[in-house]
């Protein structure tokens, strides 16, 4: 009798190894911050970085995973797509931790919760990239959203609290959409496993009408998370209100995680319905690219401008998604890698250039930045060029790949709109560079002189250049990672 209860199916914990490491590190750092009487933010930072490194090592070891493709009752997929997405997320988290540590230290605020919250957010994000069941996707989405709401409100500025509130309300709303989509998918096919849904839809055994409703609702849910137009309303307020280091983190990491899950759900479980969902994704891509680029022109605050720019970038990734091919996945992954490095670096520069806290984020305070800090102005220019898609930066290669994938899949129109939108977008990126180099300083803002956060910003700058000049370094790896099986 007892043996019957104790016997269990083989538990293969390997594929969630990174998450286990992150959970352990998160709990330890949480306890360390709460129990140690004289809190040492530096020790918490180092412990968190160690946790991220451990998770990265485990992720890399999963590249050659020989066990089952899905483990733990079909909940987790052990594939290379997840490995690559995890590594990007872990790298972003490590740099963001360094930036955030510096941000709060310079502000004189003690925020020991920052470190465990970033670790838990990263856990949710890495888990979502490997989730092979809609229930797990939803739970991971909630972990990352919940942590991000709090991270946004971590500084007690009114704008931060307001942004957090908006993010929370709209996020809860979008979660409801997502959950309704999961219910529809279950109603259509009798399962929440991505592979079972795909098999049922391919065999025409599922209820097609319910499945289409499920696709629509899931696209809305993911659309909120990746900030695709018309679900982008929260983005500018949240990105502007949040502490700049947190903005750097969430603008880069949330998009990578949400797009990874978006790609996996659409390309595996709803692959039999590809012809039905590609037009939806086109529409989203076109609207997102145009609205993001055009509205960014009208902004007078650099954080708000970058927020609209990140919306536009979501549109470019959607172009890759709409191709619905392996090439499309690969181009989307490369775009996400380039975008993550660029936006993280750009917000990092904003954090350093605006001195202490959030006092000087208007575009006017960037006038003549090259006089006050040639290094920061140079780094910012590099990131802006990459966002505009001008060689020799990673952003250029990324845009070319995405458009090529779309054209190869026969979507000329979307690629054309994308090219036009990037021309429009180039205007406001160049405008900031003109401000930095060709105008006299208006305000006397002293940039933050610290070295360590400068190094943290230099890493994405190097990557932006490296992937721009030698994209072959990662394209091969990404190609092997862009196979999604079901």
């Amino acid at each position: 009798m007892l043996g019957q209860f104790l016997s269990h199916p083989p538990v293969e914990l390997g594929p969630i190894g990174p998450e286990l490491v992150l959970a352990g590190a998160g709990v330890l750092v949480l306890l360390g911050g709460a129990l140690v009487r004289r809190r040492q933010p530096r020790a918490l930072l180092l412990a968190s970085l160690a946790g991220l490194t451990g998770a990265a090592v485990v992720s890399v070891s999963l590249w050659r995973w020989r066990g089952h493709a899905t483990v733990l009752g079909g909940m987790v997929q052990a594939d290379r797509f997840a490995v690559v997405a995890r590594l990007i997320l872990l790298g972003v988290a490590a740099l963001a931790l360094v930036l955030g540590h510096h941000y709060f230290e310079r502000l004189g605020e003690e925020r020991p919760e920052f470190y465990p919250l970033v670790l838990f957010t990263t856990l949710g994000m890495t888990l979502i990239t490997a989730a092979a069941d809609l229930i797990l996707v939803f739970l991971a989405l909630e972990i990352l959203s919940l942590s991000l709401y709090v991270l946004t409100a971590l500084s007690r500025r009114l704008a931060a609290v307001e942004g957090s509130m908006k993010y929370f309300l709209l996020g809860a709303f979008s979660s409801a959409f997502f959950l309704y989509g999961v219910a529809m998918a279950y109603g259509a096919t009798g399962s929440t496993h991505l592979s079972t849904i795909a098999r049922s839809l391919a065999g025409q055994t599922g209820n097609q009408a319910l499945a289409l409703a499920a696709v629509a609702l899931l696209v809305i849910g993911f659309g909120f998370k990746v900030a695709a137009v018309p679900f982008h309303m929260w983005t500018p307020d949240v990105y502007q209100g949040a502490p700049t280091a947190v903005t750097a983190y969430m603008s880069a990491a949330t998009k990578v995680a949400a797009f990874a899950a978006f790609l996996r759900v659409l390309m595996t479980s709803f692959q039999p319905l590809t012809w039905d969902w590609t037009p939806i994704v086109w529409g989203l891509a076109v609207a997102t690219m145009i609205v993001g680029s055009v509205l960014a022109i009208a902004q007078t605050d650099i954080k708000r401008m970058l927020a609209y720019s990140s919306i536009a970038h979501a549109g470019f990734v959607l172009v890759g998604v709409s191709a619905a091919t392996q090439e499309g996945i690969q181009s989307a992954l490369f775009y996400l890698l380039a975008y993550a490095a660029t936006i993280l670096g750009a917000f990092g520069v904003v954090m350093l250039a605006s001195g202490r806290g959030e006092e000087h984020t208007s575009l006017g305070s960037y006038a003549g930045l090259c006089r006050r800090s040639p290094l920061l102005a140079g780094l910012m220019s590099l990131f802006l060029l990459s966002m505009a898609g001008i060689p020799p930066t990673a952003g250029f290669i990324a845009k070319v790949n995405v458009f090529r994938a779309a054209v190869d899949a026969g979507h000329w129109g979307v690629a054309l709109v994308g090219v036009l939108a990037s021309v429009v977008a180039a205007f406001f990126y160049i405008r900031v560079m003109v401000l930095m180099y060709m105008q006299e300083p208006l305000e006397d803002v002293e940039p933050d002189p610290s070295i360590v956060p400068r190094l943290a910003v230099a890493v994405p700058a190097l990557l932006t250049l490296l992937f721009g000049v030698f994209p072959g370094l990662v394209l091969g790896l990404l190609e092997r990672a862009s196979v999604l099986r079901w």
Binding site: P9, E109, L139
Partner: protein, 203 residues
């Protein structure tokens, strides 16, 4: 059969009566107590329907934990606080009644379209409950849904940390607080006259 019948006809009126009584109470504590009665009788109905696990969970979680939380919040806000029963938005009451009727109609329709109003168990019910209802749920929870179950615990932990971070009072930076403690106290001139004095956070 007869026992079921008796239990049902004893519990169902109490359940409905306590629900109505809860709505009509002005005193929040009395309303909460009626809600406990209601939750208990519904739990008994679950038992009659052959769902012992749901029965236990209903009592432990709802009648136990959540009710304690309710009472806690009521006490925290003040027991004797009167709620004004004037509608703030015009037409709110009418809209509420219409929407409520809509939900009732929806539920009736859903049951009619789904399992129907028969007294038979739906198809596959026996197979799904093989070896007993709690055992079957346990198998699902700790085998097929083992990972989501564990992930939920992380979600709850994040929620707890989040609530603490958001609810904590504004605190002074530790460094300056310590410096202030070491400085000689000058009662005539407070160090920060503009800032309203708040209670020092504990710990």
């Amino acid at each position: 059969m007869a026992a079921d019948w008796i239990v049902f006809w004893v519990c169902a009126p109490i359940s409905i009566g306590s629900a109505i009584a809860m709505l009509l109470q002005r005193n929040a504590v009395h309303a909460a107590l009626f809600l406990i009665v209601n939750l208990f009788t519904v739990a008994v109905l679950y038992l009659v329907l052959g769902a012992p696990f749901l029965f236990a969970v209903q009592i432990i979680v709802y009648a136990g934990a959540i009710m304690v939380l309710f009472l806690f919040v009521i006490m925290l806000l003040g027991v004797d606080r009167e709620e004004r029963l004037v509608e703030r938005l015009r037409g709110q009451r009418t809209a509420a009644i219409l929407l409520g009727l809509g939900v009732v109609g929806e539920v009736v329709f859903a049951i009619r379209a789904g399992v129907g109003f028969s007294t038979r168990a739906p198809a596959g019910f026996g197979a799904a409950n093989g070896g007993g209802n709690p055992q079957a749920l346990g198998r699902l929870l700790f085998r097929a849904y083992f990972l989501p179950f564990e992930v939920t615990s992380i979600l709850l932990m994040v929620a707890a940390v989040a609530a603490m971070v958001l609810a904590r009072r504004r605190e002074r930076p530790v460094a300056s607080a310590e410096r202030r403690a070491q400085e000689p106290i000058e009662p005539s001139e407070p160090s920060e006259p503009s800032e309203p004095r708040e209670e020092e956070p504990v710990g």
